[in-house]
Amino acid sequence: MRVAFVGKGGAGKSSLAGTFARVLAATGRRVVALDSDPMPGMAFSLGVAQIDAGLPDDAVEEFEETGRRRYRLREGLTGTGAIERYAVRGPDGVHFFQLGKARGARWDNTRQHFGFQRVLDDLPGEDWSVVGDLPGGTRQPFLTWGRYAETFLVVAEPTPASLLTARRLARLAVTGSAPRVVVVANKVRTPRDAEEVAERTGLLLLGAVPFDPALDEADRLGRAVLDHDPTGPTVTAVRSLVAALSTETRAR
């Protein structure tokens, strides 16, 4: 399964994506947890100590094609090879892979960004699951950063700003490469909250995650909620999301 989490900043993408990746990996699948958000987040929700786990510059080589500068993986390096060599192994066997953090005021991301895309293009479809955490907001997730995804999970809180962002994302997806887009209601306090998220985004509701003080506690401690409160409301809800998408993926 190839999924990407999108939504407004602070909606809970990283927390849910990291937990989702580990729950999926624990079922025995090979999972790449893909963090392309320049802000740290997914490493914490995965429980991986290393925040930066990207491709080194020498994994990518530059070449010219019809006068244009292009990038490819170094000769002999495959997508699977790159993941095995450069991704960080996390709990439950998850492979944490990161598109580089901004390291300075003029740090150029181009080489890494293209290398990253080549790795994803080269991963064998049936063997690997990809769970992506994308940057917050509406920064073209559908055509570049998240184009590996078959399903986009829009994480939305029942607040006007979060719902407005979700509607914008739904609109961008329709005019893009038309992937499947569903919504996950987050921080819900009543069943009505989840219904409202579905109604006001116009998206299919895949599931709802309750407001959970244990998640806030885990964030403050810098711990994965899966380790901090493994049977609590957030983890239970994410298990349901994984089950819902797994059933569906098998059916298709």
Partner: protein
């Protein structure tokens, strides 16, 4: 004074900006609230409402559509494409992503 508010997603940038802008406006400063987020939500925090925020056209779109020929200055653009909010704060959206375009960050 010119202030820019930055930080991680969800840490409270928009809320802080809105409260700062309205507080300055209440203290008598002519205040321009510029939403520089490509996913602009500042209108909601300022209190102009969800619908008005969703409709607000961005200054960049106006410039792209050729409006700079008719607008004599940056002030004119802000006046024409901004909106008046509570406490007299003027809100303008700098840039919003409206269409999928490959290569755009």
């Amino acid at each position: 004074m010119k202030i820019a508010v930055v930080g991680k997603g969800g840490s409270g940038k928009t809320t802080t900006s809105a409260v700062l802008a309205r507080t300055l406006a209440r203290s008598g400063y002519a205040t321009l609230a510029l939403d520089c987020d490509s996913n602009p939500n500042l209108g909601i925090s300022l209190g102009i409402g969800e619908e008005a925020t969703e409709r607000l056209i961005s200054v960049r779109d106006a410039v792209d559509a050729g409006e700079e020929e008719h607008a004599s200055s940056a002030e004119d653009l802000v006046a024409r494409f901004g909106i008046e909010g509570p406490d007299g704060v003027r809100l303008a959206v700098v840039s919003a992503i409206q269409n999928p375009e490959p290569g755009c960050p």
